[in-house]
């Protein structure tokens, strides 16, 4: 099978690690888009830069990843979305943020720019915004007896904001269209020109529930750019934090999904397990969510005997209580009736979008960055990646259940194998470019950056939700409106991570 570097021939960029970055022609750009459209490659990310666009693509061979860069003289580039739908929203965002025009793009509407900023193209020319705000055109729907239900941005619960425009035929959803961007904070703009340390803090607050995963992806990118390696003890401690974050979120999600089917008993018990994890994290690492605990070069603080004891005690409590909850989920027929065959994501869509996490793995896509990209210390740990085919809410619950069980085993191995030694290496003020990935609880988080003399010139962060939000629209089709909270919770996409 041809590797991407054979297909995407171009001028290699020096100092880009660990995978190659090549400057390509428009023709080669189109060739890569075609590879993805024909299912031989996966889009990992697509983002803008000063006068250029970059595309991270993954081939079929293990660890075959490339970043293709295309200069945009005249401010345009050939649309990838014209051939490959997963690129559509990325290109809309590039157009809104940079003012770079994707030629042939099927959807010319803005994305992330809701018309409230004082500026247009904030990462590009940054011109003053037009005085009048153009109304956003939702996609038209034709048919008899159809009505629209607008939901959000403020939602009924304790949850992030976003807009969902339903078109319904009675109770059945004919179409769901999302409009996101409400929590866009301009993170990439804040990162440009700042120190590595400050950018690391920002990266960790892109999606607070995934602060560890983001910090690891960002650290991987910085370390790749500077060609430095964190000490082994730090790699193990990062993995420990990552598994704690995975556990906390999976417990929260399993409970919340059941709660949206009115089964609050599971929600109450899962909330207890989540609290055990957060308290153990606080004892071991000083912060319940472990913010700022992973830093470029290593980790910020040492794990002492008290922390290890907290981990061991936590595992005992979790191993004792969790199996009963799994049994409860499995044996409550009225709950199964809600989750089985609801919100189905087809295997084809999961594959086309390169959907990661429980969304992808619940629909047959066997990808987990911990195993497929084998970054330390996971290359030395024993774990399996659960995959199911049904693609429904129930499958996404079971993937989480199985991943919880895997995380128990991973934490035990990490504690047993934890090497001695320093917890960080100096980062220094070097230059370079790096691409980093880390498996967060939702899927793979991507970070790409360019450093110059210790400062961040450009950093792009890609939340796994970019390749999952569109699939929610497909999953809800044909389901009843009342099942939307269930479907949405089973996806639990990030709004803040997506919006940047």
């Amino acid at each position: 099978m041809a590797r991407l570097t054979d297909i995407a021939r171009g001028e290699p960029v020096a100092g880009h690690r660990p995978w190659p970055r090549v400057r390509v022609t428009p023709q080669t750009w189109r060739t890569l888009a075609n590879e993805m459209a024909e299912g031989r490659a996966t889009l990992l990310g697509l983002w803008g830069d000063a006068g250029a666009v970059h595309m991270a693509v993954m081939g079929e061979e293990p660890r075959d990843i490339i970043v293709a860069s295309l200069e945009c003289p005249g401010g345009t580039f050939p649309s990838v979305g014209a051939l490959h739908p997963p690129a559509i929203r990325f290109e809309r965002a590039i157009r809104s943020l940079f003012g770079l025009e994707p030629i042939g793009a099927p959807d010319g509407r803005p994305w992330l720019d809701l018309g409230f900023w004082n500026v247009e193209h904030p990462l590009g020319a940054r011109t003053p915004a037009a005085a009048a705000r153009l109304a956003y055109e939702f996609l038209p729907v034709e048919g008899e007896g159809l009505h629209q239900i607008p939901v959000g941005p403020v939602h009924a619960g304790i949850i992030e904001p976003g807009h969902f425009r339903f078109t319904a035929n009675g109770e059945t959803v004919a179409r769901l269209e999302e409009r996101l961007g409400y929590v866009h904070k301009g993170i990439e703009s804040l990162m440009a020109g700042t120190t590595i340390a400050r950018a690391a803090e920002l990266a960790g607050r892109t999606s607070g529930d995934s602060t560890v995963a983001y910090s690891i992806a960002f650290a991987h990118a910085v370390e790749a750019a500077l060609d430095i390696a964190p000490p082994p003890r730090a790699q193990y401690l990062r993995a420990l934090m990552a598994e704690l974050e995975r556990l906390a979120n999976h417990f929260g999600d399993i409970g919340a999904i059941c709660n949206d089917a009115s089964f609050s008993l599971m929600h109450a018990h899962c909330g207890i397990l989540r609290e055990f994890v957060l308290r153990a994290a606080a004892t071991a690492f000083g912060h319940r969510l472990m913010m700022d605990c992973v830093v470029p070069g290593g980790v910020a603080a040492e794990l002492h005997a008290e922390g290890i004891a907290a981990m061991t005690q936590m595992l005992t409590q979790l191993r004792q209580r969790f199996p009963r909850l799994v049994e409860l989920y499995d044996n409550t027929a009225s709950l199964m009736d809600r989750t089985a065959a609801t919100g189905i994501v087809s295997a084809a869509l999961a594959r086309q979008f390169g959907a990661g996490g429980y969304v992808g793995r619940g629909s047959g896509r066997d990808f987990d960055a911990r195993r497929n990209l084998a970054y330390a210390p996971y290359d030395r740990l024993d774990f399996t990646v659960p995959v199911l085919e049904a693609g429904d809410v129930n499958a996404r619950v079971w993937i989480r259940i199985r991943e919880v069980e895997q995380s128990f085993a991973l934490i035990e191995q990490i504690i047993a194998q934890l090497p001695d030694g320093p917890i960080a290496v100096a980062v220094g003020g070097g230059s370079g470019e790096g691409l980093g990935l880390a498996e967060g609880f939702r899927g793979d988080v991507l970070a790409w950056l360019r450093l110059d003399a210790g400062r961040v010139v450009r950093c792009h962060l890609r939340d796994p939700s970019w390749l999952q939000w569109p699939l929610l629209e497909a999953a809800i089709e044909g389901n009843i409106v009342a099942d939307f909270p269930l479907c949405n919770k089973s996806f639990n996409c990030s709004y803040s991570g997506h919006d940047l």
Binding site: L114, F116, W117, N118, V119, P122, R126, P153, V154, A156, G157, I158, I159, E160, P161, G181, Y182, V183, H184, K185, G186, I187, S189, L190, E201, L202, R205, T206, S207, G208, D209, T211, G252, L265, A268, H269, G271, I272, R274, E275, L278, R288, L289, M291, R324, E327, L328, N331, T332, S494, Y495, S496, G497
Partner: protein
């Protein structure tokens, strides 16, 4: 049946609910300065809370969620979350206010009947925090609506949130 057994076991094993946290004098001082005494007296000992994420990273949200778990059990204090601002006494607002959420926050505030209080949660909600100065951020919550109480933290722990919210109740009955 497993569900029934699980429920019964919870009754016999004893609660996980912890004692309420100690009073936060700083929060009470801020409240005393900002909230009119007569208004506080009217509401008795129960508050309905509407949460609004005006731009947060979701860190504050997950800790606010924790307030409803068995350990913190917010409802035993007469505090509960409601789905509509029209049912609310308090708006619990997180995040720097993004320009994209400014209008939604204002509309939610205006839809909340008087008397009402606004509690700004987290470092970002105070002054934009790490995101201050961005083209996309209007500022802290106070840049958009009047704020009666700030609860600091990144994110504030459930205990810190409880201390702040209990201060609201205490302020209400102390008058």
């Amino acid at each position: 049946m497993l569900m029934r057994r699980t429920l019964l076991e919870s009754l016999t094993h004893g609660p996980l609910t912890e004692a309420p946290p100690a009073r936060d004098d700083a929060a009470l001082a801020e409240l005393a300065a900002s909230v009119e005494r007569a208004a506080r007296r009217r509401l008795g000992r129960s508050l309905a809370i509407r949460e609004v994420d005006a731009g947060s990273c979701n860190g504050c949200e997950v800790e606010i969620h924790a307030l409803n778990n068995a350990f913190y059990d917010l409802e035993r204090f007469g505090l509960r979350f409601v789905a509509s601002p029209r049912h609310a006494d308090v708006l619990l607002v997180t995040g720097p206010v993004t320009r994209n959420m400014r209008e939604a926050l204002l509309r939610t505030y205006n839809a909340t009947p008087d008397p009402k209080w606004v509690v700004a949660v987290g470092t970002c909600a105070k002054d934009g925090g790490l995101f201050a100065g961005s083209y996309a951020v209007a500022g802290g919550v106070g840049a958009v609506v009047p704020v009666d109480l700030h609860i600091a933290g990144c994110p504030p722990t459930p205990t810190q949130l409880l201390q702040g919210l209990l201060g609201l109740l205490e302020g209400g009955s102390a008058a």
